[in-house]
């Protein structure tokens, strides 16, 4: 990235900094928007085409889904910003419970 300013180093240029930050953010948004559409198309293609076997395709789209979740949470919902510790905790505990539950369930059924 071209503009490599430290967000909280200078105080009196805060408005300029804000502008730069906003610009950065807009770029991130645009990039991730295009990426998310591309990933969705790729996921669809993976299932629609016969080129890859089904089980590989399923694994593949799960990975893609993970990337999408990352984009959604960090770019769009600003999870990385300050003051988002609570949602982080919530998501972490939700993931923990979901993993244990689904893991056990799969273990019990198959």
């Amino acid at each position: 990235m071209a503009s490599n300013e430290q967000p909280n180093s200078v105080h009196h240029h805060s408005s300029l900094q804000k502008k730069i930050k906003l610009k950065q953010e807009r770029r991130q948004h645009n990039v991730s928007f295009v990426m998310m559409i591309l990933l969705t198309i790729v996921a669809f293609a993976a299932i629609a085409s016969d080129a890859i076997s089904n089980s590989v395709a399923v694994l593949f789209i799960i990975v893609l889904a993970g990337v999408q979740v990352f984009f959604q949470l960090y770019i769009w919902m600003h999870l990385g910003h300050k003051g988002h510790e609570f949602p982080m905790w919530g998501i972490a505990s939700g993931l923990l419970i979901a993993l244990i539950t689904v893991g056990t369930l799969v273990g019990l059924i198959w």
């Binding site: 609570f86 919530g90 505990s93 939700g94 419970i97 979901a98 244990i100 539950t101 369930l105 019990l108 059924i109």
Partner: protein, 619 residues
């Protein structure tokens, strides 16, 4: 005359469009109370049929319908909404907030629950109610004829969406809306339990949503998730249902724990014993509640390893639960106890709930459960924890918070009659059912032969049900008498300890003129002990920002209600059903669009008016 009429109309409109948590709390309470009476009536019908051997009062499929609807109604349409009623009425006040985080969503949650409940109960008039048990096990549910189970699926799906929204709303409210100084470890225990229960709702209800969707696709669109002939697996439904179902029972009981903690502390004039242990136990119960679902499936054949793990995990829950019991007893120990009706219900709760916990641990012994499972022993267990636990807790909360919610004090003499008839009736009804179960009486059967010797205990059980009915009727009389007299009480009739009692009566629309500054646990009590008449304000008097009423939640819910009908009849009615689906979803989507499109910034109450109004209250 015409003026009064106009005023009346606007009162109705106000209730239909309200986003005020206090009014939504009352709406939840009244509709939950209504469904409680419906479910209670169904229970009485069941008990009449079982009163004597070989009765023919209510048999066969009709019995199955009444039994199914009793369980479903009581859990989803009575217990859950009444809990949400208290959460709405009390939590914002206890944390010093002026409303919940999302007042619009709050209203939407209520109306979705309401129309889901109506949809489910309309099945009675439209060809028969669901008949596959409240657990709707496949393949019983997937092969049940008629549309009964479709009503179950769609009704619960709509009501469940409302519940999920409510849970999210309270999580955000409690995280974000606490008054200055109200740290997590200063929150009253009812708020803590509301918080953990909301978290459980957030994590558990999606499992129900998915399960209901699978069942819906199986019944309406001929999918085969649970059909072994087509490569499906009926056991998956049981897993999904109990992954939701066991956390659900803790969703129900935790708020009752919270109520008991408030009531016992207030009427012992003591700080709750072991507050931090109580908080820790609540969180731990919430967490462990997700790890035990297979104890409902010990007899399915999961194998000894799985059964043992789930048995041990289940028994582990008894530990934090025991911590709570001891803490309540120690709170009372050496306290200046007042046996008001609210406290009677709480004190009655403690030993009753312990008995339910003990049978729970007995059931958790997997090999022994082969004997107990699907017998009346299980019926006795869960009624001890749900009626003897949750319902006693809810009654306690009603008597305790009635002055806060309605500005009136329920009659204490009638209250005591209410307690004793209900309490004695409860034990008469359900204690003998332990032995009926041990004697081999299976649950969900509509009769039993004379020679089995189950007659006399069943008869006692039915007598108990009559007592419980009398208790409930006394409660209704109490409500009527109280409102007929209409004698207002002060804002703090019990010498309370927590913030909700720091507010004048009737509660102002905006709750707190000035947001209070919280200086510790039992915020109001601290000020009282410091000799202050009022809470110390955290801000000067200023304009107050309030949300606007909206009719969109009502219309949105009506839209989904109509669409629900369409889905129910889709498999048999074809085109008209499709139209209902399109129209209904269209209304719902249009309301969502309007909500997003129209900016609604709420309104401000001005400082000068507020000060005038405040003087009026004091005078």
């Amino acid at each position: 005359m015409s003026n009064a009429h106009a005023a009346n109309k606007s009162v109705l409109w106000d209730w239909l469009t309200t986003v005020d948590h206090k009014k939504i709390g009352i709406l939840y309470l009244v509709s939950g109370g209504f469904f409680f009476l419906v479910g209670g009536l169904e229970a009485v019908l069941i008990r009449i049929q079982l009163m004597n051997p070989e009765m023919t009062f209510l048999t066969g499929n009709l019995y199955n319908q009444v039994l199914t609807m009793h369980g479903t109604t009581m859990i989803f349409l009575a217990a859950m909404p009444i809990i949400f009623g208290f959460m709405n009425a009390v939590v914002p006040l206890q944390i010093g907030a002026r409303d919940v985080a999302f007042p619009f969503v709050n209203s939407l949650g209520f109306w979705l629950f309401f129309f889901g409940g109506i949809l489910l109960n309309l099945s009675w008039f439209l060809g028969g109610a669901p008949d596959a048990g409240w657990t709707a096990y496949a393949p019983l549910s997937t092969t049940s004829t008629g549309h009964g189970v479709d009503f179950y699926v769609l009704g619960l799906q709509i009501a469940g969406a409302g519940t999920l929204m409510g849970g999210i709303n309270f999580l955000v409210t409690i995280i974000n809306m606490r008054a200055p100084g109200m740290t997590f470890m200063r929150m009253p225990l009812f708020t803590w339990t509301a918080f953990v229960t909301s978290g459980l709702i957030l994590f558990a209800f999606p499992a129900l949503t998915i399960g209901l969707f699978l069942l819906m696709f199986e019944r309406v669109f001929e999918a085969n998730f649970f059909d072994a002939n087509m490569g499906g697996n009926a056991i998956i439904w049981e897993h999904i249902f109990w992954i939701f179902g066991h956390p659900e029972v803790y969703i129900l009981i935790l708020p009752a724990f919270g109520i008991i903690s408030e009531v016992v502390a207030t009427f012992s004039r003591k700080r709750l014993f072991g507050y931090s242990a109580m908080v820790f136990a609540t969180v731990l119960i919430g967490f462990l509640g997700f790890m035990v679902w297979a104890h409902h499936m010990f007899t399915v054949g999961l194998g000894p390893v799985a059964n043992s793990i789930f048995a041990v995990a289940t028994m582990a829950i008894a530990i934090p639960t025991g911590v709570k019991i001891f803490n309540w007893v120690f709170t009372m120990w050496g306290g200046k106890i007042r046996f008001t009706t609210a406290n009677l219900f709480s004190v009655g709760f403690i030993p009753t709930f312990v008995m339910g916990g003990v049978t729970g641990v007995m059931l958790a012994v997997a090999p022994a459960d082969y004997q107990y499972h699907d017998s009346y022993f299980v019926v006795a267990h869960f009624h001890y924890v749900i009626v003897g636990g949750l319902i006693l807790g809810l009654f306690s909360g009603l008597y305790y918070w009635y002055p806060r919610m309605f500005g009136l004090m329920l009659n204490e003499a009638l209250g005591k009659w209410n307690f004793w008839t209900f309490f004695i009736g409860f034990h008469l009804t359900f204690f003998p059912q332990h032995f009926l179960g041990l004697m081999g009486m299976p649950r969900r059967y509509f009769t039993y032969p004379e020679e089995f010797g189950l007659g006399s205990l069943n008869f006692i059980s039915t007598i108990g049900a009559v007592f419980m009915t009398v208790g409930t009727i006394i409660f209704i009389i109490n409500v009527v008498v109280t409102h007929a007299k209409g004698k207002k009480v002060s804002g703090d009739p019990w010498d309370g300890r927590t913030l909700e009692w720091a507010i004048p009566n009737p509660t102002p629309h905006y709750n707190f003129l000035q947001t209070p500054l919280v200086r510790g646990l039992d915020a109001l009590w601290i000020e009282k002990m410091a000799g202050n008449k009022k809470m110390t304000p955290a801000e000067p008097v200023g304009d107050i920002h309030m949300p606007n009423n909206s009719v969109l939640p009502l219309f949105m819910s009506i839209g989904f209600f109509i669409a629900g009908f369409g889905f129910i009849y889709y498999s048999s009615a074809g085109a008209p059903a499709l139209i209902a689906i399109i129209v209904g979803l269209g209304i719902g989507l249009a309301c969502m669009f309007l909500r997003s499109w129209i900016d609604d910034h709420g309104h401000h109450l001005h400082k000068e008016d507020l000060l005038k109004e405040d003087k009026g209250v004091d005078a």
